[in-house]
């Protein structure tokens, strides 16, 4: 996370994206959250050597990116940034699983490569679904949806608090770092000792801030519970969105569209 400075800017950018007014943005957050979950489960439920069956699932991110007016290049970059772990674990598949699984004329493709490709496709699908959820909904609405769907209020409130103060505290951390780098020469002053002072300083400020926030809350009658007042309405279009996509996922899960298309094509050819 060396580039966390820029990735935090990304938090702000993702939120900016969520302020748009498209048909996708206007949907109830619960519909989007549940659809995302169904999508992810459908994708990961495929067998490890599945590739063709996964391809049609691309329609979900593609359609949402189009309707939600989201920037595909930016999302692609975010997906790439997150890729190393899945890649690192998946790349062992071709090394360990060498038996030929698919024969394309003279070229034999080993099971390892097939399953590796499958992992990377799953990765792209699941990660893009999560990013699209947040870019089209915003964290605050996702939290509200979570609460309505039965997540413990204590947890949801923490999520909201955390998100609220990320912006304030990263600002503070940036100032500390700038102060350090302005006075560090030839890499001196970047070591462990100074680091712990900075973190300790930041922690002390954070604790003091938490105390002040608590005072501000108590001044306005806080008694231990936070009340969220915001109506959510599940309209017909939300139900259509959820049920429509979910049935499409089920259909694609059991019915391998590319195979049928391929057969159709090769059948047409002499």
């Amino acid at each position: 996370m060396a580039t966390i400075e820029s990735s935090l800017l990304n938090i702000g950018y993702l939120e900016t994206l969520s302020y748009q007014q498209t048909p996708l943005h206007r949907l109830d957050p619960r519909a989007k959250l549940l659809t995302t979950l169904v999508f992810i489960i459908a994708v990961v439920s495929f067998g490890k050597y599945e590739i063709t069956g996964l391809i049609p699932f691309m329609i979900y991110p593609v359609a949402l990116i189009a309707v939600g007016n989201l920037p595909p290049g930016y999302l692609a970059r975010k997906i790439l940034l997150a890729a190393p772990f899945a890649f690192f674990i998946g790349i062992f598949n071709p090394l360990l699983d060498r038996a030929v699984l698919v024969q394309l004329g003279p070229v034999g493709l080993s099971g390892g490569w097939v399953s590796f490709a499958s992992i990377m496709i799953r990765f792209t699908l699941t990660v893009s679904a999560a990013l699209i959820l947040i870019a089209s909904t915003g964290l605050n609405a996702v939290c509200l949806a979570l609460e309505r769907l039965g997540a413990p209020t204590g947890f949801v409130v923490q999520l909201l608090f955390l998100y609220r103060y990320i912006f304030v505290l990263t600002d503070e951390a940036l100032r500390l770092m700038r102060a350090r780098s302005l006075r560090s020469f030839q890499g001196r002053g970047l070591g462990f000792k100074v680091f712990t002072y900075l973190i300790g300083q930041l922690l002390l400020r954070t604790l003091a801030r938490a105390q002040r926030i608590h005072l501000a809350m108590r001044s306005r009658g806080f008694d231990g519970t936070i009340r969220l007042l915001r109506p959510l309405e599940f309209h017909l279009q939300d139900a259509v969105f959820f049920l429509g996509w979910s049935s499409l996922f089920l259909l694609l899960r059991w019915y391998n569209l590319p195979h049928q298309l391929g057969h159709l094509l090769t059948g047409l050819a002499p």
Partner: protein
Amino acid sequence: MHMADALMSPAVGGTMWAATAGLTAYSAKKLRKDLDEHKVPLMGVLGAFIFAAQMINFTIPATGSSGHLAGGMILAILLGPSAAFITMASVLTIQALFFADGGLLALGCNIINMGFFPCFIAYPLVYQKIVGARPTRGRILLGALAASILALQLGALGVVLETFFSGVAALPFATFLLLMLPIHLAIGIVEGLVTAAVVSFVWQAHPEILALAPAAPAARGHSHKPLWLGLALFAVVTGGILSWFASSHPDGLEWSVKGVTGQEELAAPREGVHGALARIQDKLSFLPDYDFKKPAAEKQAEKPESWPEISTGKSLAGILGAALTLLLTGVIGLGLRRYCSPGKG
């Protein structure tokens, strides 16, 4: 190390989600009962602190690489187990949503690996035992180091187990474990040193702050209840996955066990592939020869039988079809964007 959706099976993901949901509900209830209302803002702000602290890095001497704080242990020390667990869960949720670290299905795994182990195991069993009621610099160092190492080793073990039971990655259990544990030993040592240094710093500047946190679980004897509950839950969950796997996917287990015994001869992969092919066949038998097929199959000469043997024609059809699907998807996407953007204004 974040577990990723792409390496998960729904069964493992679902089980870990259930475990996480249970632990979160338990912790939230515990917090409500403790009536520590000052913790409400403190937890959220400390969660944000973890993010901010990760921006500040230091160069590890002689390596040129840089390290930073991961956070679970320091949260446990400042907040106590339940509050730290909830805070860590929200940190990981934000990471999953905004940085695509992990993913939504893997979130349950990640919360167990990086929240449960430090907060409910390493902190009460190791850190508190070593540091006790009267901290000294040395004890803090020893406690933080030992607890962080344990937490990260357990977390790494969690990742390996979850990957193994998901059966998507081919990495054999033992190899994977041998790969993960040493890496996480190093990470754990760094984490422990940072945690110790920061905790000592705070302890010297404001000793009363540290006095606050351990005071909460210091209601001794009583405090082990959540721990045992957590451990029992973990055992049940792990046992559940194991038995589920053993009964419904014997080939998956067999395949992985073979990996553990480490055969490199030609026979082994063939065996492995055999198992895998059998599974594919098994799954493809869902592909119906009737019903769905009719509209598309009109012009088809050959019968699309299932796919156990390697067939050039079949693969070609698959690839052609996939390409066509992709093309279609792209066209639909472009069309939608065309259609939606001007109307939106």
